[in-house]
């Protein structure tokens, strides 16, 4: 009996040893994978972005092109919807394991620069691995913060008013460049009265639109390190909002809340919505009607406050392959074939070469190109300042508190106070 037990114990120990060894090996291979250099000199870089399935298909095609041109570089991909993307990225970056290269936007440059996550790509520009020439409309400056190149724009977009065209036509409303907020308010009432549909989906909670309104009045939503407006400003904006919801010129917030993540425009709750111009591509796929882009209302009949926004590609400071990452970004922003595959999915291509390579044939994409060209021609575009650290939390709070106001769980004064309290906490951190 004693022997039999000994044998068993040894077997167990061996088994345990084997398990430990396997785990150890697995861990080692895991590390090898993360480091990304295999024995034959092939380098693997990780690329993450936010978006949906259709964007993923396009991006995978562009990666296939890239890997053909650079056979020694393999690209591993990962994508999530926008809010989930940042949660995952945040966790990975804090754990010291962010993707080598990833999609980024203006609101996150300072945030992740402060956390020491972003690679200054200007070194790679000097080394000749990445070219910053040939960008349109001054876009090459968009990813610069305090003299560091933290992101390279892949496309440009602009805030716009996306409208349900037949609804506007039925109401007899024709928005024109330079129309005023009074014209807009009258149009909203007209749409409500003539079509029975609310005019707008809930503009009072769109941070980027309020930013434009503030810019029309010589202010801005953000300064370099804080909020660029006062409690009195916001009280005016939201007092008007509350009345609009009560009068039914803005869509019923209860219904809007329930159709998320679908847009209130494509769900036929509202005649229009202030959002990014490239969203009209998504809306055309989502809704049954015909959608087009209208100009932003103005305060003085001229200034819209608009600027070009942009999706960018950034690299992480921890990457072990800065050269390969730079070559990847360079390929993605300059190669004409990439533009033909991507279209206007991430906005109008940032470089002239890519812009020329893709000529849209369908109405939706054509109207986006026309819209941005008209903005450039009208000379209304303003420079953009990178948002302060914590801006993304302010944006979310703005949207949420505006919804609470519309749903009637907060008074205007209460909502304004709550927003300023939360922003203060977010912008300090």
């Amino acid at each position: 009996m004693g022997t039999s037990r000994n044998v068993e114990r040894r077997t167990i120990l061996k088994a345990a040893g084997a398990t430990a060894a396997t785990l150890g090996l697995a861990a080692t291979t895991g590390c090898g994978g993360d480091g990304g250099t295999s024995s034959d000199g092939t380098v693997t870089i990780r690329y993450a972005w936010w978006g949906a399935e259709d964007r993923a298909q396009r991006i995978n095609k562009t990666i296939a092109l890239f890997e053909k041109k650079y056979p020694k570089i393999k690209v591993k991909t990962d994508f999530q919807p926008y809010p989930d993307f940042w949660k995952k990225f945040n966790t990975q970056a804090s754990g010291g394991n962010p993707p080598d290269v990833f999609q980024n936007a203006i609101g996150f440059l300072r945030k992740y620069d402060a956390k020491n996550v972003l690679l200054d790509l200007s070194e790679q520009v000097k080394a000749g691995n990445l070219s910053m020439d040939g960008f349109r409309a001054g876009l090459e400056k968009f990813g610069e913060v305090d003299g560091k190149l933290l992101g390279v724009p892949v496309g440009s977009n602009s805030m716009s008013l996306v409208i349900d065209k037949p609804v506007y036509t039925r109401a007899g409303v024709k928005p024109e460049q330079g129309w005023t907020w009074d014209d807009f308010d009258a149009a909203m009432k007209k749409i409500r009265d003539k079509t029975g549909r609310a005019g707008d989906s809930g503009m009072y909670g769109v941070m980027y639109l309020y930013d434009l309104y503030l810019r029309q009045n010589g202010k801005a939503f953000f300064t370099e390190d804080g909020l660029g407006f006062t409690e009195a400003d916001l009280t005016d904006w939201w007092t008007k909002a509350k009345k609009g919801v009560q009068d039914g010129v803005y869509a019923d917030p209860k219904k809007v809340a329930q159709i998320k993540p679908k847009s209130a425009v494509t769900a036929e709750l509202a005649g229009g919505e202030f959002t990014w111009d490239n969203f009209s591509v998504r809306y055309s796929a989502e809704g049954k009607s015909e959608y087009s882009l209208a100009p932003i209302p103005t305060t003085d009949g001229k200034k819209t406050g608009q600027y070009l926004g942009s999706l960018m590609l950034s690299a992480s400071k921890r990457t072990q392959h800065p050269k390969e990452v730079a070559q990847f970004i360079d390929f993605m922003v300059h190669d004409p074939e990439v533009a033909k595959i991507m279209g206007y999915d991430r906005g109008v291509p940032a470089t002239q070469a890519q812009f020329d390579a893709f000529k849209p044939t369908d109405e939706v994409n054509k109207s986006i190109a026309a819209y941005e060209t008209s903005l450039v021609d009208a000379g209304v575009l303003e420079p953009i300042t990178p948002h302060p650290n914590g801006a993304d939390i302010c944006e979310a709070a703005f949207l949420r508190i505006a919804e609470e106001l519309a749903l009637g769980t907060r008074s205007v004064d209460d909502a304004v106070k709550q927003f300023f309290t939360e922003s203060k906490t977010a912008l300090v951190g």
């Binding site: 009996m1 004693g2 022997t3 039999s4 037990r5 068993e8 114990r9 167990i12 120990l13 345990a16 919807p81 926008y82 809010p83 989930d84 949660k87 945040n90 966790t91 970056a93 804090s94 956390k115 020491n116 996550v117 019923d252 917030p253 209860k254 219904k255 809007v256 809340a257 329930q258 159709i259 998320k260 993540p261 939390i393 979310a396 709070a397 949207l399 949420r400 919804e403 609470e404 749903l407 769980t409 907060r410 709550q418 977010a426 951190g429």
Partner: protein, 333 residues
């Protein structure tokens, strides 16, 4: 085998009877016995080691770390900064935190009793022998198996949305609320309905308890002329009170921890809200928002510990109260 029983009967099963044995059959010498005892202890720990390692690495370690983080300002990136009790004072002063406590309390106080009442009621019906009994039990138990899943939460959201089945049925009766999931006040009740729907788990435990009640008690009561209500109040309820206590405890603790259903029905992702105007912002949802969306892990850790303390207090009160209403059979305690 019976003659060789030692202090470790469990190990006996491992030795095969046909094996030749060394030494005297009746009892090994004390030294060998001691050595074997040590070996067995070692083997025991070895068998437990995956679990112990898991507990230390995945539960105890993170818990101690989070206790430390609760007193720091920690954003995941920078080194935690010790700030003493600031997280706790911020928490108590935060109207959103108080709102989340209120929403959670509503959920616990309304949902748990309803769920247990329904579970007990159905258990009483199913305790009687009738045809198809097994089928009914399985049918009522099924929601408990799938109810916590993400897919059911998505279905739930669709059921209670504007112009969906619940809303339309209500309209027939002239009650139009325009969808529960869009209403800041109503959305929490759609979650209550979701938890009540999963009454199967406590029901099964009640059924087991009901089977334990001796039949002769009922027979004696019937002879004495006690009606069904009387029998329920004076025999059934006291006899199953330990089971009732167990269910109350389990369901209460469980309700405090509600997360995934609230997060999904509330359409959580996105604007760091949960439900229309935070209507389904339960405690753990707010904890998640602060920790993962606002990157305030220190504050989130403090919130987690606060929840632990609250649940421990509620549990303590329940244990204290059982002296007054839980009856254990003589000698069973």
């Amino acid at each position: 085998m019976g003659t060789t029983v030692t202090h470790a009967p469990a190990m006996e099963g491992l030795a095969k009877d046909s094996e030749p044995r060394h030494g005297p059959v009746n009892s090994p010498r004390p030294a060998a016995l001691k050595r074997r005892g040590r070996r067995e202890t070692l083997a025991g720990y070895l068998f437990m080691s995956p679990w112990i390692a898991g507990f230390l690495l995945l539960t105890a370690g993170p818990m101690i770390a989070s206790l430390y983080f609760a007193f720091t300002d920690y954003n995941l990136f920078d080194t935690p900064k010790w700030i003493g009790l600031d997280n706790f004072s911020e928490m108590f002063g935060d109207p959103r935190w108080r709102h989340s406590v209120k929403v959670t309390m509503w959920y616990v106080v309304v949902g748990t009793p309803l769920k247990l009442l329904l579970a007990l009621g159905v258990a009483l019906l199913l305790a009687q022998k009738r045809r198809g009994q097994a089928f009914y039990r399985a049918a009522f138990y099924a929601p408990s198996l799938i109810g916590a899943s993400v897919s059911v939460a998505i279905v739930w959201k669709a059921i209670f949305a504007d112009d969906a089945i619940v809303d339309r049925t209500q309209k027939v009766f002239g009650i139009d609320v325009g969808g529960w999931t869009g209403d800041p006040e109503m959305i929490i009740y759609s979650l209550v309905a979701l938890t009540v729907w999963q009454f199967g788990a406590p029901m099964v435990i009640f059924l087991a308890g009901l089977k334990q009640v001796p039949r002769e008690l009922y027979e004696a009561a019937e002879v004495d002329g006690a009606g069904p209500m009387r029998r329920f109040w004076n025999i059934t309820l006291p006899m199953i009170s330990p089971v009732l206590f167990f269910n109350v405890l389990l369901e209460t603790i469980h309700s405090f921890q509600i997360f995934s259903s609230a997060y999904i029905v509330g359409g959580g992702a996105g604007s760091n809200a949960c439900g229309p105007a935070d209507g389904s912002m339960v405690y753990t949802c707010y904890l998640y928002v602060q920790g993962f969306e606002n990157s305030r892990m220190g504050l989130a850790s403090a919130m987690a510990w606060m929840l632990l303390v609250a649940v421990a207090l509620v549990t303590a009160v329940l244990f204290w109260s059982q002296k007054r209403w839980v009856h254990y059979e003589e000698g069973a305690r």
